[in-house]
């Protein structure tokens, strides 16, 4: 039994049953399928997270974000600037207690180099209802190339707990035709 020492002293010489061996082979092969699926998707799939990231500081990042806001703000909404950057450009979204700053406006089908960084604690970029989720760290600047493929109004929910105002931290992205 499993609660007593093995009945055969040389238990490692006992044959394993055929059922077990077949299952081990199937499970092992399935593991390989799942492993190579991730690699395959890097070539064939369209949804891969970039490895591009830099060390930064809140001050440096805020300066770049502000330069973008100054250049491309098209209107104000709820005291938020709405920024419409040119397609293909670098876009700086700032996470801070408890805002995603500023509101962004993208054009459908165009791609943007979206930079993400935090001014204070960790935050979670959760684009809804698309459901893309990326962790945002202070001191690190991540660059993700995104290509919105449907027009509409999208929310950015914070999904990393960031203190008492966490549940009020919602941003917005518009995608226009």
């Amino acid at each position: 039994m499993a609660i007593t020492p093995p009945s055969e002293r040389l238990w490692w010489n006992e044959p394993a049953s055929k059922t077990e061996l077949i299952w081990i082979v199937i499970a092992f092969l399935w593991g390989l399928v799942m492993f190579f699926m991730m690699i395959y998707w890097h070539g064939a799939g369209k949804q891969n997270l970039s490895n591009e990231a830099y060390r930064t500081t809140p001050v440096r990042y805020a300066r770049k974000s502000q330069a973008m806001i100054d250049a491309y703000t098209v209107r104000q909404e709820n005291n938020y600037p709405v920024v419409h950057p040119p397609p293909g450009s670098d876009v700086y979204l700032t996470a801070r207690l408890w805002q995603w700053w500023p509101i962004l406006e993208f054009e459908k089908g165009q791609s943007y180099r979206l930079h993400l960084s935090s001014m204070d604690w960790q935050h979670g970029f959760s684009l809804q209802p698309v459901n893309i989720n990326i962790q945002v760290h202070p001191g690190y600047e991540m660059v993700v190339t995104m290509q919105p493929d449907q027009a509409g109004e999208y929310g950015i929910v914070c999904n990393e707990y960031c203190g008492i105002g966490h549940h009020t931290m919602v941003g917005r992205i518009y995608v226009v035709e």
Binding site: M1, A2, I3, T4, P5, P6, S7, E8, R9, W11, A16, T19, E20, W23, I24, F28, W30, G31, L32, M34, F35, M38, I39, W41, Q47, N48, L49, S50, N51, A53, S111, D120, Q122, S126, L127, P129, N131, I132, N133, Q135, H137, P138, G139, E141, T145, M146, Q147, P148, D149, G155, V157, N159, E160, Y161, I164, H166, H167, V170, G171, R172
Partner: protein, 564 residues
């Protein structure tokens, strides 16, 4: 050599039980159950708050309760119980005296002190940083201090276990190799060493940072090392509850492993590969390469998953072989149909096996796929997954084991037998419901650790789909069911332990039935002649579900905005 007077012989199993080990097992198990009650209560409050129609706690209390819930059940309940399992699997199963009983007592007391310090600190309200305490969010120093104290003293329990193995070997208390269950416990203890070392490596500098002696802790480094503790500690649970599955199969059915070699190799896979799982929490972080993520998140080509899939065959397989050996050979499933479903030890164990595989296991692998993690990270899918592993899997298995510990170790007749028959079902179904509904809400994008998904105070509000609200309501109801099951468990166990009829020296408990320990299967390896078609069918269903669900999620991923 220990004196015979320090031992008693168990009238049911014939095991020689060292009395000091027995006392330590009792103490650890009782404290574990108390923290399960406390942590479970916080969990119920959390679930009721996340049910938008109920929304019972204000925001500050919600985040406080969630921090306490995570710490008390994920760490304190489980590790106290695991220490009891370690002492059981070494001293009791090997019929040996326990190494360093004074150390074991000191470790027990200091663990308790640590757990109390952290709980009190959380209740003071200035340390609602969640169980994970990601820097640069800062808790009061005592929060980290309590966890460090708790973890480091749990290490003593591991060393007492190792010491006991050495003593048993030297004093020849058993023949040949250690039993499979002890081997599983050894796996858990080895992983525990790695886990606790990782915890100490990151929490000690964090403690120094919180008192101002260290100026900076890098958030990404913190997360990488913290999860080497946080995720690996869940792998201790996996090893421990798989060992318990084998133990219950042995005690209730007299089941033997189909082959010692296969089952032990599967445990070995855990030791070699499970520690890589820290990567599961880092798949959408900046600054880590895809190569690193793919290798680590897959436990080096899914070799630890292979271990679990093997146990998924060998545990029910050994039960089937034992039952068929008793003559329950009709059709595919007579062995299962006529299993003792009214015995809470078996019912809990078997549901734990099924839920851990189908709910916790499959969802974990899918979510841990590098790219698929993008549509799940930090949504409620994550707690949905780990309530499937830790609650429906580990906690249910530990509860099932407790039904055997009460008569055999506490030497008390189990009280409220009718309630005990139902308890595993109520708790198990509640826990499975919690997992599934949270995973459902997570698939719809709902954030975890979030007080108000209506965003009523947010300057730029957003609406989750109405199905998400339905999921949160169902999750709340499932949580009530699980809490009811938890309460039943605590009433039964605390009642029996303190007020149950004492069993005399030679009394055998009447319930749950532990049949005479005759071998149902002559020896392992005999399954060549003893087929297990029912288990093959179950495993086949599992595999099909796994493959389908895996590719469905790739399809979901392919529908989101292109990213590169």
């Amino acid at each position: 050599m220990a004196k015979t007077a320090e031992f008693r012989t168990c009238p049911t199993t014939g095991l020689k039980v060292y009395l000091t080990a027995e006392k330590l097992i009792k103490a650890n198990a009782v404290v574990a159950v108390i923290f399960l009650a406390v942590g479970g209560f916080f969990g119920l409050l959390v679930a009721l708050t996340r049910w938008p129609a109920v929304h019972i706690l204000p925001a500050d209390w919600f985040y406080l309760a969630l921090t306490a819930h995570g710490f008390d059940v994920l760490l304190v309940w489980i590790i106290f119980f695991e220490i009891a399992v370690l002492y059981f699997a070494s001293a009791v199963l090997l019929g040996s005296r326990l190494a360093g009983p004074k150390w074991a007592w000191a470790g027990f007391i200091m663990m308790l002190v640590g757990a109390v310090i952290t709980n009190v600190t959380v209740l003071r309200g200035q340390s609602s940083v969640m169980f994970t305490s990601y820097v640069p969010m800062m808790a009061e120093p005592a929060f980290y201090l309590g966890i460090i104290l708790f973890a480091v003293d749990a290490l003593i329990g591991c060393f007492v276990f190792f010491g006991t193995l050495v003593i048993a070997k030297q004093e020849n208390t058993y023949e040949g190799s250690i039993p499979l269950v002890t081997f599983g416990a050894l796996t858990a203890a080895i992983i525990a060493i790695f886990t606790i070392a990782s915890g100490a490596i990151i929490l000690i500098p964090t403690l120094l940072w919180s008192v101002g002696l260290v100026s900076y802790v890098d958030p990404l480094v913190y997360k990488t090392i913290w999860w080497a503790m946080g995720h690996s500690s869940q792998q201790i649970n996996v090893s421990a509850h798989v060992a318990i599955w084998y133990a219950i199969a042995a005690m209730v059915f007299g089941a033997k492993p189909l082959s010692e070699k296969v089952s032990r190799s599967a445990f070995l896979m855990y030791i070699l590969f499970l520690q890589l799982a820290s990567a599961h929490h880092l798949l959408v972080e900046p600054g880590l390469s895809s190569e690193w993520k793919i290798f680590n998140t897959s436990y080096a080509m899914y070799l630890a998953v292979l271990g679990s899939m093997v146990h998924g065959l060998t545990v029910p397989g050994s039960i089937e072989a034992a039952q068929r050996g008793r003559g329950l050979t009709k059709g595919l499933f007579e062995w299962l149909r006529k299993a003792p479903w009214g015995n809470p030890a078996f019912a809990g164990m078997f549901m734990s096996l099924v839920f851990f595989g189908f709910i916790g296991g499959i969802s974990g692998v899918v979510m841990g796929t590098e790219q698929i993690n993008l549509i799940m990270h930090n949504t409620l899918y994550v707690p949905g997954h780990f309530h499937g592993t830790v609650v429906a899997g580990t906690t249910l298995a530990f509860m099932a084991m407790t039904y055997l510990l009460v008569p055999l170790i506490f030497r008390r007749e189990l009280m409220f037998k009718k309630l005990a028959r139902w308890q595993p079902y109520i708790f198990g179904i509640g826990a499975a419901g919690i997992s599934l509904f949270m995973m459902g809400a997570g698939t719809l994008g709902v954030a975890r650790r979030h007080w108000d998904i209506t965003f009523s105070d947010a300057p730029l509000p957003f609406d989750y789909p109405s199905t998400a609200f339905l999921m949160m309501g169902l999750n709340g109801m499932a949580a009530i069911l699980a809490a009811l099951g938890g309460l039943m468990f605590i009433v039964i166990v605390v009642g029996s332990v303190f007020f149950g009829r004492k069993l005399g020296k030679n009394d055998k408990p009447s319930y749950p039935e532990v049949p005479p320990q005759g071998a149902a299967v002559a020896h392992y390896g005999s399954s060549d002649t003893l087929k297990i078609p029912g288990t093959v069918m179950l495993v086949g269903i599992f595999f099909i579900a796994f493959v389908l669900y895996y590719f469905v999620n790739w399809k979901y991923l392919s529908e989101v905005w292109p990213l590169s």
